[in-house]
Symmetry: C3
Subunit: 261 residues, 3 copies
């Protein structure tokens, strides 16, 4: 893995304030050649699962060597851990609360360290904005090529959020909604493997035991306003309404049951 | 036209999810020296006209050689075309649904090609996110200097959205509202030519045959809370309220009639 | 102070339209090596105080040499002044309406100039978008190393917004809420000096003479849903609710009284 100047940023800091811009200022002060790239800052405050899904859906589209920084950190300032995880292609940095764990399901982990070496933190550390004072500087130093071992002691494990399981039953598979995107598309945990074996046979998708939609290849395979289930760009089945919002029309939320039969 | 690393991005992908950041990851993976620049990602989902106006209002302020990428693409995954259009100063890339057409009204077109060469697409193409899988990689390859001819066969024409016509009548000109911005300013299709000949003679602007405002040089030429019509920065007459929102106060929407008399 | 390619951007232009992207296009046309960095564009339209606080809270985290551009400019096109201010570490550029003044409280001013030299403006100046036509090009030229003296005549003074005063009274200090962030945290003008002397002695914070919260080191020092006052990352006391919104729950707004006793 060659180093890259890229630092991807996934946070719940929003765009209303100066938080993200300040992190970029800190990064560029430490490495003027670093290249911060926003993935998303509109994760709902403290929504670790949404942050985890966002990072997992996007991280592998970045060049090898990129540093992926995720700061959804409701426990900021408490004794919660902070970690850096080196994989075959990337270094992931964030609080140890599970926000990195869904991205790491796809990765081959090479080493795992606690962030404890204050040499790589800002002076005058606050207790409320470790994105600026710890995570941004650590990521910037990583793009300068410091070895991950320098950040702190090696750890054996990190916090995982359970990925919801699929349940096979007579005539189908049951999954659930994991994420709802801005278009109102409801992304499930039913993956390409589950879906592909059923697409030939007139399969149906049933949401919350109530709403039925056909499987199709793209949103516009059905008329505008009609519901459709497609294998989406994250590699998972998603429930959509062509030119509409499935989440709004069906009231779908994360955790809702989705049956493929 | 010398090549430029700049890729401007105009989409309806919003900021709530990972879509735009993922496109940037793809771009930087193909050309580490590329420079993605956000124009706007908050176009209402599928609003091709708003996307077309946004691109037309901004593209000429970018350096010569820039690639302008616009992805408002409700037909993603269907048989709709995808195009690259080379003009004297830029290359425009997007779906062939009219989103590029208002920007191209201002440009001298040199060549027009379909995007069909899969060499320049991501492997494992999805049917729902061509912004990531086709448009971003094509734009990135263009900044590396590939000739537009390599992208696919030459085409004769592309889809245009009709630009709303001005109607001259006794004592004036009638246009319409084309776009409403975040300040609630209602931008019309009445251009500098129509406006300039009337500014000397105590002209009035009438919105929806009801609301009357004076022509003036800037918003603050009238008291706070008062309506005013000014020649705006896009080169068109706009209806505004000094320190307020004309769209909210008058309920103005795209398509509403505006008379200059 | 060595020059830097960085131009920080703080505006009320929002993300719904093309305004910020167009400024970046202009900047990169003048200096292809310039590095625009967004601080915030979601300042409420015309809210000079929020813009002033945002810039003051973030500017010192940028590398020395950065140009800080702030465009909250309700008087655009009127006779209001425009200024560039060189300090020990930065150059600040914006309208002379106070938006720069809270950042400048922290800085040692070296020189102050009016923006009057049209050589550094765009041709075909609009009366409604000086962010694009004046401020962006001036900032870009500054990153190319032009001396600030070239921008226009030296000035003696600039417009200041009064920073709200602390009032010492029997048994405590009274300040006020200055800014409410996206998390609903209410940031006050009670600074580290005022706070630190009281943290040992069981101090309490009283908001609007009604809501009482304990002082603590971090948000999660109290149970989820409970109120807490912490010394925040901007160096000021802030009122928060762990995993909630103090602004929503208590109805706090800028100007509300906060007593530390």
């Amino acid at each position: 893995m060659k180093p890259s100047p890229i630092i991807s940023l996934t946070t719940d800091f929003g765009s209303k304030d100066w938080f993200v811009g300040t992190m970029k200022g800190v990064i560029l002060g430490i490495n003027p050649s670093a290249l911060p790239v926003d993935i998303c800052h509109e994760i709902a405050p403290g929504d670790i699962r949404a942050g985890a899904f966002t990072l997992a859906a996007s991280c592998r589209f970045f060049p090898s060597g990129s540093v992926h920084l995720a700061v959804i950190d409701p426990g900021v300032g408490s004794a919660r851990g902070m970690i850096a995880v080196k994989t075959a292609d990337y270094v992931f940095v964030g609080p140890d609360n599970g926000v990195l764990s869904w991205a790491l399901r796809q990765e081959r982990i090479q080493s795992l360290h606690s962030l404890e070496n204050k040499t790589y933190f800002l002076d005058g550390l606050s207790q409320t904005f470790h994105g600026r004072d710890i995570f941004a500087p650590v990521a910037a130093h990583l793009t300068r090529g410091i070895p991950i071992e320098d950040l702190g002691p090696r750890r054996k494990d990190f916090t995982r959020i359970a990925w919801p399981r699929l349940r096979r039953h007579r005539g189908g598979i049951q999954g659930e909604v994991v994420y709802v995107d801005r278009f109102g598309n409801a992304i499930t945990n039913l993956d390409a493997g589950s879906v592909s074996t059923r697409t030939q046979s007139g399969a149906q998708v049933v949401v919350n035991n109530k709403w039925i939609c056909p499987l199709a290849a793209c949103y516009s395979a059905v008329p505008a306003g009609a519901a459709v289930a497609v294998l989406g760009s994250s590699g998972f089945l998603e429930i959509a309404i062509n030119s509409g919002s499935a989440a709004m029309q069906f009231g779908i939320r994360p955790g809702d049951a989705v049956n493929l039969r």
